[in-house]
Every structure is written in structure tokens, then in C-alpha cells.
């Protein structure tokens, strides 16, 4: 940034070159090469093979199930994220830090454990498994289990994106609206929501990307019934294990496109947030929320 940084207060030219070189090699090996490989393998046998792989019945069934799970899990978690961030950012109450820790929980639990708890709860040996079986209901190894697990895994994304943004904004604008006679809902929709718009969009995109891409947790509860309980990532696994490499990468490339779109949206949102002069302390990195949440409000913008 500063000119002085790059002159007498920087490293010697050779050292700089080595550090940049190491960065480029590391990023090249771990990030660029995998991306190139996915698309190379996906399109190796031509466009016709690519489209055949993503349009065969099992692939379409997997795409439909993934869309369904995301279409249910994401809206629920968006509503929760809005309500929880309103609660945590606008009010002080005892047990707030416990609540934020609980919201973070799905990030710290292994995906395998996330799936397992639903098997323990709803599986045949589980708490309510027998009762469910008697009544002819199936949750685990069926679609409801996949949706529940997806909800659990994607639960924190919207909330933790919104909490820091709402906190930096404080409550002055809402208070002004209330004093001027607006009701609670009107204040929320006309004052709060426009202020958090970009953070909300980013939270939804992240939540959706994870909902569509989750593998470990969904794998545990799915039962892997082809055409019935396979999501896109599980379908990729099956194709790969059956040595249909190009088909596996063709389907995988769909998820890779989604990942790249997510990265682009992230950049746009960051840019928009900076434009609005909101010091977004939030990040996509699942960092634990600061324990002393109120401290953030005292920092000048």
C-alpha cells in the first residue's frame, strides 16, 4: 500500500521473490491444479459425454434430491439466521455467549458425527426408531433424514454472517424509526433488512453451497439407495468407485461451478460492504464469534 513499505522497509529483492515464488507454487499445487483437473477430466471425452453423464436418470434423480434438500433447509436457516442475529445483535441477555457457542456447534462437529446423531435418534436402534417403524415412517436412510442433516450442517451460516454486521450497525437507526412511529415489523423490513442486504445474500449463498455439497453427514444418513436417496456428492462417489472417472468428474464439475460462483459472489459482496463503509469483521472462515460481543460496537467505523 504505502510506497515506503516497498522500499527501505521491505525485504531484499531476492527474499521477496522467494516468498512470492513459494506462494505461487503452494497455491498452484493445492488450488489451481485441482480446479484444472476437474474440468480437464470432465470434458476429456467431449461435450456429448459430459451431457450424457449429467443427464442420465440416476444423475437427474441426485440433482433433484439435492435441489429439494437445499430448497427446504436453506429457507428455514435463513429465517432462523435473521431472528437469531436480531436477538444476539440487538439485545443483551444472560446466556448470550452460550447461545453463540451453540450456534457455532455444527461447525466444530465432524460431518460424520453430524450424520450419526440423527441415526442415533431416528435409526431402528434409536430413541424413537421403533415407534417410527411401527407407524410406517422412515426418517433415516430416507429423504427426511437427508433434509434434517442438511439443516443441521448448514444451520450457522446465515446467522454468523449477519450477527457481526448487525452489531456494527448498532440500534440507533431502529430506535429512530420507532420514535418516528414505525411498528416493529415495519422497522425490521424498512430499516434493518436494507442495511444487512449484502451480508444476507452472502449468507444464503454460503448456506446453499454447503447444503448442496455436503458429503460426510449426508452419506451417513442416506443409505445410498440409487435414484432415491443419493445426492449429487454421493452420486459422484458411486461413479468414482465404479471407475466411471469421466462421468464422476462431469458431475463433480457441476459442484465446482457452484463453488466458483460462490467465490465470485463473495468478492462482490466484500466489495459492496466496503463500499458501504461497513467494517465487516465477519468472514467466511468459520472463526468463533468473539466472546465479548458488545466490544465490537465500541470500535469506531
Amino acid at each position: 500500500m504505502h510506497a515506503r513499505n516497498s522500499h527501505h522497509l521491505s525485504e531484499p529483492f531476492a527474499v521477496r521473490r522467494i516468498i512470492i515464488g513459494a506462494t505461487l507454487i503452494f497455491v498452484g499445487i493445492f488450488l489451481v491444479a485441482p480446479l484444472l483437473l476437474v474440468f480437464t477430466k470432465a470434458f476429456e471425452n467431449g461435450l456429448a459425454a459430459f451431457f450424457a453423464a449429467i443427464s442420465e436418470p440416476d444423475a437427474l434423480a441426485a440433482i433433484r434430491l439435492t435441489l429439494l434438500a437445499a430448497a427446504i433447509a436453506v429457507p428455514f436457516n435463513v429465517v432462523f439466521g435473521l431472528v437469531a442475529s436480531w436477538l444476539i445483535a440487538k439485545f443483551d441477555f444472560p446466556g448470550k455467549s452460550i447461545l453463540t457457542t451453540l450456534i457455532d456447534l455444527p461447525f466444530t462437529v465432524s460431518p460424520v458425527v453430524s450424520g450419526m446423531i440423527f441415526v442415533l435418534l431416528f435409526g431402528l436402534q434409536g430413541w424413537v426408531g421403533e415407534w417410527l417403524d411401527e407407524h410406517g415412517m422412515k426418517i433415516v436412510f430416507a429423504i427426511p433424514g437427508i433434509i434434517l442433516t442438511t439443516m443441521f450442517v448448514t444451520f450457522p451460516f446465515v446467522a454468523r454472517e449477519l450477527i457481526p454486521i448487525m452489531q456494527t450497525q448498532g440500534t440507533e437507526e431502529e430506535q429512530a424509526a420507532l420514535v418516528l412511529g414505525a411498528g416493529g415489523w415495519k422497522t425490521f423490513f424498512r430499516v434493518t433488512l436494507p442495511n444487512i442486504k449484502w451480508g444476507l445474500i452472502f449468507g444464503i449463498i454460503l448456506c446453499n453451497a454447503r447444503a448442496m455439497g455436503e458429503f460426510g453427514a449426508v452419506s451417513v444418513v442416506s443409505g445410498h439407495i440409487r435414484g432415491l436417496t443419493n445426492t449429487i456428492p454421493l452420486h459422484v462417489e458411486i461413479l468414482y468407485n465404479e471407475y466411471h472417472m469421466n462421468a464422476a468428474f462431469a458431475v463433480a464439475s457441476l459442484l465446482t461451478f457452484l463453488a466458483l460462483a460462490t467465490l465470485i459472489v463473495k468478492k462482490v459482496v466484500e466489495w459492496k460492504l466496503k463500499e458501504k463503509l461497513i467494517a465487516s469483521s465477519s468472514s467466511w472462515t468459520p472463526l468463533p464469534l468473539p466472546t465479548k460481543l458488545t466490544e465490537m460496537n465500541e470500535e469506531p467505523l
Binding site: S110, P111, I117, M151, V236, E237, L255, T262, L263
Partner: protein
């Protein structure tokens, strides 16, 4: 009447920020949702493990195959977190301090491991490291076998944890006041001394947080590892995979014991990270 409202206002002010509407509603909804989706499901794990006798629990986690999986999971996660600590610092440093072509693209790409589904990462890294793969053929020439060995596990876990150190250190470096460096330089400190005594202490808490996060994430990782590891019992079988295997054999108690042990470790790590974060916030 008049006195009543003013009293209410005073009590509102006393409650501090609780002047906005919707406290009860949002508290109720949040608690209900957190309970239904997170707390009740997670509690099954605790009840299941408390229903086991201590002997049975200890027996389950000291089984040789389980111990081997712990060794691999902890060892490989630690190795991957160290690689990420070193390269993460270098990447963050380059991105903040230097200018080079492609910098913005690299900055955006750093988040790829968060965005890319783990299954896709798994098959891709396996294809790269396989004997005939883009990297595998050269590694083989060097006498290193990456796919289906612990080396492969470390590679997958390095990929998964890559963004953590970069993203924790980057903002701290950006906020670092160059005047401090200038002051040190004007007092006669050389570059290496400034790095070690001025810059490193400032970024140490962030770097440690990133390291701990990468480690915690690697411990639980499943999707990206199961493809590249080959899943050979006692050799390349990670703990999360062993949980899945036990679940498939309906050995719910055995799976619970492993899961519980890993959960306790994750919580300990989370606590450490929170303490580090608190210290970081205080110093900022």
C-alpha cells in the same frame, strides 16, 4: 398516567439496549429452533455414551484399530496444520505486502477449500496423486507414494485447512501500522530483528488461532480423505471413517465412544481458540 410512562421509559433505559421490540419472540423462536435442530440431536450422543459402562467405553477406544486411527488422525492433522501454518503465513504475507500478477485471483482462490464440496476435493486430489496422475508420476520418481498412504491423508487435510491461517493472519497484517516498523528501523533495528520482535508478536495470536482451526477441521474431516487414503485398517484408516464403518456394522456403542472422544478434543480446541480470540480482541 404520565408518571407511569416515564417510569416505564426509565426502566427501559435501565435494561440498557432492550428498547427494540421483538425480544420475546426472537428469543422464543431461536431457543425452539436451536433445541430442535442442534441440542436434542447432539444430546443423543451424550446419552448414548453415558448409558455405556466405563469399562465398555474404555474398551472401545483402546481397541488397537481405534488407537491406530487416532494416531493417524491426530498425527496427519497436526502435520497438515503445520504445513498450513508455514505456507499460510507466506501466502498472507505476499497477499498483504507485495504486488505481483494474479494476486487478486489468488486472494479469491484461497477460499476454494471452503467452497468446494469435500467429495469433489477427494476424487480430484486422488486423481492428481495417483501413480499416473499429474503429480503422482513425479512423486513416484522421487520414491514417494502419495495415494493410499498416510502422505495422501496429509495432502487432503492440508487442502482442507489451507484457508484458515491465511484468513486469520491477513486482516491483522493489513491493520498493522507501518509506523511501528519505521520506528523500529529508525532506532537501528535490522529487517530480521523487526520481523522477529515487532511483526511476529503482533500476528502470533492470529496465526495460532488459524493453526488450531485448521487442526480442528482436519480432525473431523471425512469426504476429502476417504478417497485418497485407501482406507486400509491399522494403516490409512482415519477416525471419522472408523465411525462410519462401525455404524454400518450397527456397532452404535463403538461408534459413539470414538465420536465422543473426538468431540471432547474438538471442544477443548474450541475453548483454546476462544481464549486466543479473546486475547486478540483485547490487544486490538
Amino acid at each position: 398516567m404520565q408518571a407511569d410512562t416515564s417510569n416505564k421509559r426509565i426502566s427501559n433505559r435501565k435494561k440498557g439496549r432492550r428498547v427494540l421490540p421483538g425480544f420475546g419472540l426472537s428469543l422464543g423462536f431461536t431457543m425452539l429452533y436451536v433445541n430442535l435442530i442442534v441440542l436434542i440431536p447432539i444430546s443423543t450422543l451424550f446419552f448414548k455414551s453415558f448409558s455405556m459402562t466405563w469399562d465398555k467405553f474404555a474398551g472401545a477406544i483402546t481397541d488397537p484399530r481405534v488407537l491406530a486411527s487416532f494416531r493417524l488422525s491426530f498425527g496427519a492433522s497436526l502435520a497438515a496444520a503445520f504445513i498450513n501454518l508455514i505456507f499460510g503465513l507466506l501466502v498472507a504475507w505476499s497477499l498483504v505486502r507485495y504486488h505481483f500478477p494474479g494476486k487478486r485471483i489468488i486472494d479469491a482462490l484461497v477460499d476454494l477449500p471452503f467452497a468446494l464440496p469435500t467429495a469433489v476435493a477427494g476424487i480430484t486430489l486422488t486423481a492428481l496423486c495417483a501413480d499416473n496422475g499429474w503429480f503422482g508420476r513425479y512423486l513416484q520418481g522421487l520414491g514417494i507414494k502419495a495415494a493410499f498412504t498416510p502422505v495422501g491423508v496429509v495432502i487432503a487435510l492440508t487442502f482442507i485447512g489451507l484457508p484458515f491461517v491465511v484468513r486469520t493472519v491477513q486482516p491483522v497484517l493489513e491493520d498493522f501500522d507501518p509506523d511501528v516498523e519505521e520506528a523500529a528501523a529508525s532506532l537501528g533495528a535490522n529487517r530480521l530483528y523487526i520481523l522477529a520482535r515487532v511483526i511476529l508478536p503482533a500476528i502470533r495470536p492470529a496465526a495460532l488461532t488459524g493453526f488450531a482451526l485448521a487442526f480442528a477441521r482436519a480432525l473431523g474431516e471425512y469426504g476429502s480423505v476417504v478417497f485418497i487414503s485407501g482406507n486400509i485398517p491399522m494403516h490409512t484408516e482415519i477416525s471419522p471413517l472408523l465411525i462410519v464403518t462401525k455404524l454400518e456394522q450397527y456397532d452404535y456403542a463403538g461408534a459413539t465412544a470414538i465420536a465422543m472422544t473426538m468431540l471432547v478434543v474438538s471442544f477443548a480446541l474450541l475453548l483454546t481458540i476462544n481464549l486466543l480470540q479473546a486475547r486478540m480482541n483485547r490487544s486490538v
